[in-house]
């Protein structure tokens, strides 16, 4: 059951300082690219921001604001990117994003959520992935002669987006094979990770998937899950521990590649075309990927949390390994954007569930920033980012890191 009251302390602590909308000073670079919240940037009203949403939750909790479909649509324009959360937590002990998630949960339970989100759950119940691809067809892109290691305790988790865009997973397979990493695929046994459903507020449906997946991994003896998708990575790390004690560790293909490069197990062509790129940190691989540690307790006077609470502040996301990989690739030059690492600007994918115009504006803004670095391409590690950013007007090529690496293997 949803319980907005759990986040009362957060709601009552907000003093409208606005730190959730503006870049933190250690990354500031000037007038441009100073905003961090895509929806505040697009709509302009404070309601569309961490501050505004926290205030809205409070009024819903106190019965001052009605739960409606229109409110749910508004709440789902938020990309759930977590920039507000990181910024607020740089100076406060508040759970801004968790509060927004709980509002979605609350609204979903009251029957209010955008149709696109509702369809995701319906698709899953109908034996498909959230985008409607039947489980049996999820791996139709796999080459007929592909052989994995059925005894391996490492699984390469393809993720739902592979059926739309198998390139990154095929590239990951090449990297693992080149590096001599034994692994297996789950094929039609693989189900949606549940992350998107959970983040859309459909936490009970997501919970069923999560428990099912964890059990399937346990039965199959899986100890390591390698993801290609930033969303799946973030889900396994930051959502699964809410339902199960995961008996496996999760690594992203960029981390595996960085490790293989460090160990000298990947060799690259030296004659590859020189390319200047900029790196886009996906939210669920970066600031939202810290392992969730449950906390229950009492918040006493002056903010004392008893027992002590573990805070996820986006400090320990996967930021360095993708950059290490890029700098190891011959011919690749990296130019950083202003909004990077924990202050990264979201691609806007999930905004599109409720407001495609806002999603397009968010992607356009990122593309504008990428262009300002004089990069020829934008590299990311998440298929959802690739989809969203490719939809920007006049986009730079959006390259998946795994594909870039695989394409340059000797």
């Amino acid at each position: 059951m949803s319980d907005l009251n759990r986040f009362r302390y957060t709601m009552e602590s907000c003093n409208h300082c606005g730190q959730c909308k503006w870049i933190l000073p250690h990354r500031m670079s000037g007038w441009d690219f100073a905003e961090v919240c895509p929806v505040h940037h697009h709509f302009g009203f404070d309601a569309y921001s961490g501050q505004g949403l926290v205030n809205i939750v409070r009024e819903v909790m106190e019965g001052k604001l009605e739960r409606t479909d229109e409110l749910a649509d508004m709440v789902h324009t938020c990309a759930a990117c977590g920039a507000c959360d990181v910024n607020c937590k740089s100076v406060r002990d508040m759970e801004v994003l968790e509060t927004i998630y709980e509002l979605r949960h609350d609204l979903a339970q009251a029957g209010h959520l955008p149709d696109s989100c509702r369809r995701m759950a319906e698709n899953v119940s109908a034996g498909c992935d959230p985008f409607g691809v039947p489980l049996a067809e999820r791996f139709s892109w796999l080459p007929g002669d592909f052989r994995d290691d059925p005894d391996s305790d490492t699984v390469l988790f393809a993720g739902c987006s592979a059926s739309r865009d198998p390139g990154p997973v095929l590239a990951a397979i090449r990297i693992l094979q080149a590096g001599g990493v034994p692994f297996r695929l789950l094929r039609e046994e693989e189900r949606c990770c549940g992350g998107a459903l959970w983040r859309s507020g459909q936490q009970e449906t997501a919970g069923d998937l999560i428990r099912g997946n964890a059990e399937a991994f346990r039965k199959a003896g899986i100890r390591t899950v390698i993801t290609v998708c930033g969303e799946c990575f973030g889900a396994f790390r930051s959502i699964y521990p809410r339902f199960v004690k995961p008996g496996f560790r999760t690594v992203h293909i960029s981390q595996v590649a960085a490790g293989l490069i460090r160990e000298g197990k990947l060799a690259f062509r030296q004659d590859a075309r020189p390319l200047t790129v900029t790196y886009h940190d996906p939210c669920m691989l970066g600031r939202l990927s810290e392992e969730y540690v449950p906390w229950e307790g009492e918040i006493r006077s002056y903010g004392l949390h008893v027992p002590e609470k573990h805070w996820n502040r986006g400090e320990f996301g996967v930021y360095q390994e993708p950059r290490d990989v890029l700098s190891a690739l011959p011919g690749i030059t990296v130019r950083e954007m202003t909004r990077r690492v924990e202050e990264s600007w979201c691609c806007g994918y999930w905004t599109g569930q409720a407001d495609p115009e806002c999603a397009a504006a968010t992607a356009d803004e990122r593309m504008r920033e990428a262009r300002s670095t004089d990069a020829e391409a934008i590299v990311s590690c998440c298929p959802f980012c690739r989809t969203a950013l490719s939809g920007a007007g006049d986009p730079l090529p959006v390259v998946d890191l795994a594909e870039l690496v695989a394409g340059r293997l000797a």
């Binding site: 250690h26 670079s29 949403l53 009605e66 006077s301 924990e342």
Partner: protein, 503 residues
């Protein structure tokens, strides 16, 4: 309450349908109760996002015609940025966000209200210039901070009060006229705050936010200083453990401990006589302890030790333009410290300051003072001579224990700051304390503490200002204490007799 349809339609025709809303969930984003007050802010009836001065003027005229009140707002960081009565709209400056000019030669910048410190500061710094930004954080409005509200900033020792940095101003008067002041009035540019006739600068600034001043400021120029310290900064790490460094041989921070505030004052004055230092301040150690820790729990674990380590810290930032100058300033500094009995703190504690040069530029970390729940108040703010403020500091231990020892408020006797300005010509004071918002009586205790603080000041013939002092409690103490708010009110009444500008 919602606005009459005709009024809404008129406003909508000015800003366009995308930039006005009266939806409850949009209004909710700007009306929730903030932790320092025990009641919710009153809801506005609509929020408009104008895009230009002309649109603001149109909005104000519409409000006048229909008797609708209006309040300007940017980040809404302080309680005067909210509606206080029914039939009020919020004019939010998100879209008026341009830096119109940075004039490197004449050293000024022209900004609209929506420009935030985190946008202007790096732009001017790149050009070898700077200004003193308030501790309000990266999202605070530069224009509001300098032209409308805000008091003193943390690093103005070698410079002056923000008010003195206000140059040409463009504003919309309560009649909806567009008024230009200073050199702008003569069409001569933005560089000067005064022109023929009486100075309008004080009238524009008023007392605090809309409590006193008489219009919506739509553009203003602020004066810029030469950079104190290297123009290039470097940052490392990931939030919340990120760091900003000012590299280069001639930027250095020193922290000294004293056993008496009078000696601190003597050091401030002696340094001022030699015009040495970019920042010199007696810092409050409660905020410092919050800035040095990453959570409330960590703060509570370390607070006792911090209290012991910083009983009376004098922080000095030297940032001259050459290494030779630094050697010279350092020599004077050490002479002064020796003569006044200061003791240098261990290097690791000084280093902490050096690793947080954010503090000397944009002061975003000071928002951590809100980490303990957010119920806080800075009191006794205002300008006086350094000596007089040291006396005020001394007087605090005479009344604070009744409140701290009984748990009515959270503070410590020496937890106040004194910031000398203009090389010690005068200084500002701030006593920052907190209260427990989980305690239903805490707001009352807070008010009692303010009253006692004010009475003590009155006895000591001090003029520092305690929040709320211009309200009932101030009046109870008698007009002799301060009558400037009454004058500010009269000026406002003369210009805005129907009080359409909310106050």
């Amino acid at each position: 309450m919602s606005l009459p349809r005709a009024v809404y339609a008129e406003l909508e025709s000015v800003v366009g349908s995308r930039n006005i809303s009266e939806k409850e969930y949009i209004l909710a984003g700007n009306r929730a109760q903030t932790p320092e007050i025990p009641f919710p802010h009153r809801s506005a009836d609509a929020i408009v996002l104008p895009g230009s001065t002309e649109q603001v003027a149109e909005i104000v005229r519409i409000c006048n015609r229909h008797g609708v009140r209006y309040v300007g707002t940017v980040s809404g960081g302080i309680p005067t940025a909210y509606a206080t009565e029914e039939n009020t709209i919020l004019i939010h400056f998100k879209r008026m966000n341009r830096i119109l000019e940075i004039n490197e030669k004449d050293r000024y910048a022209v900004v609209e209200p929506g420009v935030r410190h985190v946008q202007l500061y790096p732009e001017v710094r790149k050009r070898g210039l700077s200004y003193t930004a308030a501790a309000v954080g990266p999202g605070g409005s530069v224009l509001v901070n300098i032209a409308c509200t805000g008091g003193d900033h943390h690093n103005q020792y070698g410079s002056s009060r923000p008010t003195r940095y206000l140059l040409g101003v463009e504003m919309v008067t309560p009649e909806g006229e567009i008024l230009r002041t200073g050199s702008l009035e003569a069409g001569a540019g933005w560089f000067c705050p005064e022109s023929a006739g009486p100075s309008l600068r004080g009238v524009v600034k008023g007392y605090s936010g809309n409590a006193g001043h008489i219009g919506i400021v739509t553009k203003c120029a602020i004066a810029l200083d030469r950079c104190k310290g290297p123009a290039e900064t470097r940052s490392e790490g990931v939030s919340p453990h990120s760091r900003i460094y000012m590299d280069g041989g001639c930027s250095r921070v020193y922290v000294f401990n004293y056993s008496s505030i009078q000696d601190v004052g003597r050091a401030m004055l002696a340094l001022g006589e030699s015009e040495v230092g970019a920042t010199v301040q007696k810092y409050f150690y409660l905020p410092l302890s919050l800035m040095m820790t990453a959570s409330a729990n960590e703060f509570w674990e370390k607070w006792g030790r911090f209290r012991e380590a910083f009983p009376m810290p004098l922080v000095v930032h030297l940032a001259p333009h050459s290494v030779r100058e630094l050697e010279y300033e350092e020599k004077i500094l050490f002479d002064v410290i020796r003569e006044t009995g200061g003791v240098r703190l261990p290097r690791d504690l000084e280093k902490w300051w050096e690793e947080h040069m954010d503090y000397f530029m944009i002061v975003s970390r000071l928002q951590s003072v809100l980490r303990l729940g957010g119920s806080w108040l800075p009191i006794k703010t205002g300008g006086e001579s350094v000596r007089h403020l040291c006396d005020i500091g001394d007087s605090i231990s005479g009344f604070i224990h009744d409140f701290t020892d009984t748990g009515k408020i959270f503070d410590a006797p020496q937890n106040y700051q004194i910031i000398p300005m203009e090389y010690g010509h005068f200084a500002s004071f701030e006593l920052l304390f907190m209260w427990d918002r989980l305690d239903p009586n805490s707001f009352r205790y807070m008010q009692e503490f303010c009253t006692v603080s004010r009475e003590t000041d009155l006895k000591n013939h001090a003029h520092s200002m305690t929040a709320g002092g211009y309200g009932k409690a101030g009046e109870a103490l008698g007009r002799l204490y301060c009558n400037c708010h009454l004058w500010a009110g009269r000026i406002r009444e003369a210009f805005d007799p129907s009080f359409t500008m909310d106050a």
